[in-house]
Amino acid sequence: MQLKTRKFINKLFSGIGITSVVIMTAFLLILLTPITYKGLGAIFFSGTIEYRMLNYKEFGHGDKENIEKEFAKAKTARAPVYLQFDSFKKEVKKLEPKKRREIKNQLKEIKEALKELLGPFPDTPIPVLLRNQYGQTRWKNAQEKLHHVLYSEEWDYSDPTKPGIQVFVPRKKYFAGTSFESFFPYLEKNIKKMLLPKFTCYWQFLTDKSKDAHFFGGIMPEILGTIYLALGAMIFAVPLGILAAIYLSEYANPGKIISFLRICMGALAGVPSIVFGLFGLAFFINTIHVSNSKSVLAGSMTLALLILPTVIRSAEEAIKAVPNTYREASLGLGAGKWHSVWTIVLPSALPGILTGTIISLGRAAGETAPIIFTAAVSVGLPLKIWETLSQPTPALSWNIYNLCTEHEAVDEIRHVQYGMVFVLIAIVLLFNLTAIIARARIMKKLRG
């Protein structure tokens, strides 16, 4: 082969390699960018006065006087809307019956849309469900709802062989010639005054309970539950894993039993996570009754089994990487075997063990399938630490699944879903980052 061709092939090869790394990076960016962008939208957004009012009334955030002043201002701006509505009702009665029916229908729709936009009408009983007690809290959604008030969404089915086409008919059209016609331009023009949108940083998203099935409020119970579950899994898995690793690397003589143990560990690592979920339900709850229903405890134990092989493997590798001279030196000074392992080998292996465990901590935090039947609920209070022994908890991973598939208002609470995914990924990456930093720190300390 010519040198030229060989060089070309060499370059091509490097090109392919670098392309694949670039593809991988692209995957990561495509995944993280929308989630980060929209996830941050759960915390930073343009909030309306309704949001501030809700936040004050339900969670006690914000300055009472300011909010009340603002709310009074908004109320003044809204007053003409309701006034017009009431006065027009009398006018409707005078219309001819056919026109009246059409307009009544429209009015009904407008009323519903207006309720969603600005909250319940004044002087009507307060609805029970929280989501009906307030208008739109987010300016972006408010604009959509405004659109519903201003336009009626209709479908043009004129060509029956093709799917219909969506058309937006301005509702103003139906009211041409009546006093209500001016309602629409007024609303459109003054909507900002009625809702007073303001840039908001709702950091309490991370520390508030949720209200009304995640319509409002934050995700604190979920975050707390996730942390409980992950830490609980650690409490079971880490001591077991480290002791097992010590046995395998320091005490065990290679033989049939040990290779059998290793095969079992490999098998455990390969068990699909959903099978762990089934096993957790069947064994921990229904057989040995660690708790009398789903609980954080049962979930943690199940997760612990899931991460046990990873912990053992990383701990074993870390222990094996400790130079033999340390063991010799310690034994040479007259230390017993256990003492050498405990005082010299383990501390030296700590960075490796730590990295492995923190990474599996991240894995435990993100797993969903094993906790569906053992620990996760859709609604529940944030738990005190001792309640974890007997009570189930909401957890980020399960609630993400739950909210994006089973919630009755999937689209209305997209921002909460994105926020949860973002927070979950952030927690897991934070764990990993901690692992990297901790490893570097300890390495530095050990190396001097």
């Binding site: 063991r327 030196a329 310690s330 040479g332 007259g334 017993g336 003492h339 300390k445 050990l446 001097g448």
Partner: protein, 261 residues
């Protein structure tokens, strides 16, 4: 076979090997060695690499136990006791027979903790007592002046020569009777080597020192007695001066004159 019994009398012997062999699997690394090692003197073991000198040395405090396929045969007498008997407490053996390794191997802990490691094993907990022992040991291994202001620092920050002297201090802190040194200077530069050799000179008398080295000059400089091993067999044992000046065996002569090895 040389008869060390001619040179060392029974009462002077601190360690006595009798038909002592070490096997790696089926391979006999040390072959039926008979050797008396005198108390309070420095004994050097020389020989080409792979001659079994390190294995022999490590056999004295049963360091070879760590290698699963390794087993010993014959008797190694210490304190009128065969240390390969079945009921031996290896831990207390090793507390009395200290060891310094080829590569400096301080623990990744502070200098103080390194030296205090042994005493703590022996149940000394009081800070004052420990400090006293640490200072004493460090002084004895001639490193106190260099490290007295940074006892809290990580031992791995020190230079190689300092590390090795720290390891000696660490071994001394347990107050052993015998100090085994397995090529203690092979990883060090000449200056550090000199310091270690001086140290050995100072320590002899208080301790029985056995040093394995491939460096004949070193053996000649520091030791009172020298043993030459070749292919697992103890070829010659004698007073250092005699052995180097007029070796009795042909192989010894070939080795010290550099014809092989």
């Amino acid at each position: 076979m040389p008869d060390t019994n001619l040179i060392i009398e029974e009462k002077d012997a601190h360690i006595k090997a009798e038909d002592f062999s070490v096997f790696y699997g089926n391979n006999e690394a040390v072959k039926k060695v008979n050797m008396r090692i005198p108390k309070g003197k420095v004994t050097a073991i020389i020989g080409p690499s792979g001659c079994g000198k390190s294995t022999y040395l490590r056999a004295i405090n049963r360091m070879n136990d760590l290698i699963p396929i390794c087993r010993a045969d014959g008797a190694m007498m210490f304190d009128k006791q065969d240390i390969y008997a079945s009921n031996i407490d290896v831990v207390s053996l090793r507390q009395r027979v200290g060891m310094v390794f080829q590569k400096p191997n301080p623990f990744p802990k502070s200098i103080f903790d390194n030296v205090a490691y042994g005493p703590r094993l022996l149940g000394i907990k009081k800070k004052a007592e420990l400090s006293e022992i640490v200072e004493h040991s460090l002084k004895k291994s001639a490193i106190w002046d260099e490290v007295k202001d940074r006892l809290k620092e990580n031992a791995l920050c020190m230079s190689g020569g300092q590390q090795q002297r720290l390891c000696i201090a660490r071994a001394l802190a347990v107050q052993p009777e015998i100090l085994l040194m397995d090529e203690p200077t092979s990883a060090l530069d000449p200056k550090a080597t000199t310091k270690i050799e001086d140290l050995i000179g100072e320590l002899c008398g208080d301790y029985t020192i056995i040093i394995v080295t491939h460096n004949m000059q070193q053996a000649a400089r520091v030791s009172d007695f020298t043993a030459f091993m070749y292919e697992g067999i103890l070829i010659e044992f004698g007073i250092t001066k005699n052995l180097f000046e007029k070796p009795r065996e042909k192989q010894t002569e070939d080795y010290i004159t550099g014809r092989f090895g």
